[in-house]
């Protein structure tokens, strides 16, 4: 059986050179639901309008086959016969006529397309109202007398009037309160199931879209970035854009703070050449600016990325390290494997002596492991003095626990922050000054003359740790390993440092490994948590799952020990 909807190479260009859709292809079977998500301006609504034939050549090109019939270039009669009865669209805000009753407007398509008698149409309208859980008594009212939720239900009744096979819901839930959202979601799911409806849900409300549709498609700048099963696309996004989009959305299931997507969506009149996301992507390379990535199969879904999605930044396999203490061996690491993806923030937690610091020193090339290997961006990282390994170490930086130890007491702030530049070949006094000022600014420190001349003993722990951070960022690393960066700071300094870390992570597309024994800190900043105990990984999972229900005994202990405000409830006097 042919697909209900077959869109191929759909392009829409509006006057003024606005490229709204830039070669879109997908298909939808009968009874299937597809969620289309993306930021405003991604072309979602244009797509919806094209599917109901509202946008025609010469603006549109390509092909939209609905139930075997071509919509692009179809005459008005064909379109009219298809609209409402095969495909119906529920717009973001349905244009109700303010001077006619709701019931009359729901009955209107029935009377027009099916030539029903007025009474018959009214009876059918009441049936439809019941189906969408709208009190039929409300049909006599005027649109402005209904609540937002009721108007949406009336819209749906209208859309369903001619028993379409495909319903397009354009931002079906925007502006509604959570209770109403929930009711509507449940209602639609059951109606779609009952009627065998195919649905296209257009939304930037990710959870709603995910709940309604088993398949999802992520759009950006008029193109598909990623498409596949919702469980894959929304839960384990592969494309850097989908990943950023999911991270920007507040949901109860993540404990982490919101992360905006850096930069702005491109101007549809001037989409950059190559990959459209290249201006905001964190893993961009030359090829991204030159060649357009095809939508290709990767990791169980379709991804439009030259690298098949997010790259793996760091991977460590089977690390072993044994120290000697008084002649007795201390096994610090016993076969630890660990990885960090592009832009990912990983929390490394464990009790004292679990090997966290040893691991972080090995990961950053400060210490050589006895066994196993560390790969950074695909090439081996070693602790040797050789030039090649030294250059590579600049890509990954360690922020140490003790800022008083990590910063030389002999140097002034400017020398401290600028030190990585002295080592690297990129010199120039004015360039160096500008770079130092920029980095100090990024970590929220002044770059005035007096501050630049200050020395370690004149500054607070929080300031010092931010200076250490600025110094680490000076080499423009891809990955930052922070070993208990806040353990020596007071709560207010800690909060500041964490906020800065998170912002920098977005702005610079940094991968982050946050080493801590404090679950409360880790859950605010990281996507994933790795629990280490006695030199072994005992748990590895998404942060929100971990903090809600840790699987390992060590994890449970750490979560239980995490600080929480739990006011003691006074015994009630009787």
């Amino acid at each position: 059986m042919a697909a209900l909807l077959e869109v191929s190479d759909l392009r829409v260009r509006f006057d003024g050179g606005v490229d709204a859709l830039r070669g879109l292809s997908f298909s939808l079977d009968r009874g299937e639901a597809l969620a289309i998500v993306g930021e405003s301006g991604a072309g979602k609504s244009t797509l919806a309008h094209s599917i109901v034939g509202l946008i025609q050549p010469p603006q549109a090109s390509g092909s939209v086959l609905l139930d075997g019939r071509e919509l692009l270039g179809a005459d008005e009669q064909t379109l009219r016969s298809l609209r409402w009865s095969t495909v119906a669209i529920a717009l973001q805000s349905m244009p109700f006529n303010p001077v006619a009753s709701v019931g009359a407007q729901v009955a209107e398509p029935l009377r027009e397309h099916r030539a029903m008698a007025s009474a018959q149409a009214r009876a059918r309208a009441a049936e439809l109202a019941e189906e969408v859980l709208l009190d039929p008594a409300l049909l006599d009212r005027f649109p402005h007398e209904l609540s937002g939720g009721e108007r949406r239900r009336a819209t749906l009744a209208m859309v369903l009037a001619l028993d379409p096979e495909l319903v397009i819901l354009d931002e079906p839930l925007s502006g509604l309160d959570p209770d109403t959202k929930l009711e509507l979601l449940a209602g639609w799911t059951s109606i779609a199931g009952r009627r065998g409806l195919a649905m296209i849900v257009i939304s930037h409300d990710l959870p709603a879209a995910a709940q309604l549709a088993a398949r999802s498609m992520v759009m950006y700048a008029g193109e598909v970035m990623e498409a596949g099963a919702t469980s894959a696309v929304i839960e384990r996004p592969a494309h850097p854009y989908s990943w950023a989009l999911v991270n920007a959305y507040p949901v109860m299931s993540t404990t982490k703070d919101l992360r905006p997507i850096r930069g702005q969506p491109p101007d549809p009149r001037a989409v950059p050449p190559g990959c459209p996301f290249n201006t905001r992507c964190t893993q961009v390379e030359t090829i991204c600016r030159e060649q357009h990535p095809p939508l290709a199969r990767s990791r169980g879904r379709l991804v439009a990325c030259h690298f098949g999605g997010l790259k793996e930044l760091l991977s460590a396999t089977d690390l072993h390290k044994t120290f000697r203490s008084d002649g007795r061996p201390v096994h610090a690491l016993q076969g630890v494997s660990f990885s960090v993806g592009e832009g990912e923030a990983v929390g490394l937690i464990g009790p004292s002596g679990s090997g966290k610091s040893t691991l972080s020193r090995i990961l950053t090339g400060h210490l050589a492991p006895d066994g196993g290997a560390v790969l950074l961006e695909g090439s081996a990282l070693s602790a040797s003095w050789r030039r090649g390994s030294r250059e590579r170490r600049r890509r990954i930086q360690l922020v140490m626990q003790d800022p008083w130890d990590a910063l030389s007491p002999r140097l002034a702030v400017e020398e401290l922050v600028g030190e990585p530049l002295d080592v690297g070949s990129d010199g120039g006094a004015d360039r160096r000054q500008a770079a130092v000022a920029e980095m100090l600014d990024a970590v929220g420190l002044p770059s005035s003359g007096t501050f630049l001349r200050a020395r370690v003993h004149e500054l607070s722990g929080g300031q010092l740790q931010r200076i250490a951070l600025a110094r680490a960022l000076m080499t423009r690393p891809k990955l930052l390993v922070a070993d208990e960066p806040t353990s020596m700071l007071d709560p207010s300094e800690q909060a500041r440092l964490l906020v800065i870390l998170r912002e920098l992570q977005v702005e610079m597309g940094l991968g982050l490994v946050l080493v801590s024994h404090d679950v409360a800190v880790v859950r605010k900043v990281t996507d994933r948590v790795v629990v280490l105990d006695a030199g072994r990984v005992v748990e590895d999972g998404r942060t929100e799952r971990f903090s809600a229900a840790p699987r390992s005994a060590t994890g449970r202990r750490l979560v239980a020990a995490a600080p929480a405000f739990a006011p003691r409830v006074e015994e009630e006097e009787s």
Partner: protein, 275 residues
């Protein structure tokens, strides 16, 4: 502490600078050839001979002025030898670690067990009390403690987070030595240099006092030695311008260097600055 430290530094510095100037300008400011017989034997101070003459009729002031030069040469060379060797051995041991460190430190232990003055007396007595012998012996007994301190400073530095950080952003070992090790060791080296210079001045004079001195050489020690060897030196007033000024010269030089050392202490030790 800060202000007193500065006073010590200035006072010590002034004394040492003055002595160095005298040593440098000896041929110009010395009124007579220190070896020449310039007047009557054992003359009292006069306008011609400010400090009188000795038993051989040589001008005592000229001898002290030329003696300053001798002391300065011994002090600089002996201290330079001790500190140079100490820094080299200590830093190398600290940086290399392992068996090199072990070996160096055992050698240091052996040398530390040897007392400087008796060794000096022995060597001077056996090999002859020439100036180079004195320099060599002071240098060879002086380097082990320097090496030990430098090694521990180097080890501390190597374990510091900022050195690890420097390695982390790709610096080579030459950079670490230039940027971090040298500034750490420099004040330490200077303080040790001053200490061993003072020790050398006193030891050189001490040897001469004991009679282990090259009688042809003009130095504060040889002035003292000759004066003390003179029969009945304390029966007349001669000791006032023969023994006393020479002893005073040694004392002032040692005192000046000691003050300088105390004044430099805060610079050698960064923890002093933080307090």
């Amino acid at each position: 502490m800060r202000r007193e430290g500065r006073v010590f530094l200035w006072l010590g510095g002034a004394i040492v600078a003055m002595l160095l100037l005298v040593a440098l300008l000896a041929p110009l400011i010395s009124p007579f050839d220190p070896r020449a017989i310039a007047g009557p034997s054992l003359a009292a101070p006069s306008t011609a001979h400010w400090l009188g003459t000795n038993d051989a009729g040589q001008d005592i002031l000229s001898q002290l002025i030329w003696g300053t030069r001798s002391s300065a040469v011994v002090a600089v060379l002996a201290a330079g030898l001790a500190v140079g060797l100490g820094v080299a051995v200590g830093a190398t041991a600290g940086l290399l670690g392992g068996w090199a460190d072990l070996l160096a430190m055992r050698v240091v232990d052996v040398f530390l067990a040897v007392p400087a003055l008796p060794l000096l007396i022995l060597v001077a007595a056996l090999a002859g009390p020439s100036r180079s012998t004195v320099i060599l012996v002071i240098g060879m007994t002086g380097w082990p403690p320097v090496a030990r301190v430098v090694r521990s400073q180097t080890l501390t530095l190597a374990g510091r987070g900022y050195v690890a950080a420097a390695r982390g952003f790709g610096s080579g070992w030459l950079y670490v030595i230039r940027r971090h090790l040298v500034p750490t060791l420099a004040p330490l080296a200077v303080a040790n240099f001053v200490y061993w210079a003072a020790t050398a001045v006193v030891l050189q004079a001490g040897l001469a006092f004991l009679g282990l001195v090259d009688p042809t050489e003009v130095s504060w020690g040889s002035v003292l030695n000759r004066a003390l060897a003179h029969q009945g030196i304390y029966f007349s007033e001669v000791w006032l311008w023969w023994v006393l000024p020479a002893g005073l010269a040694v004392t002032v030089a040692a005192f000046g260097l000691a003050l300088l050392g105390v004044g430099l202490e805060p610079r050698a030790n960064p923890r002093w600055r933080r307090a």
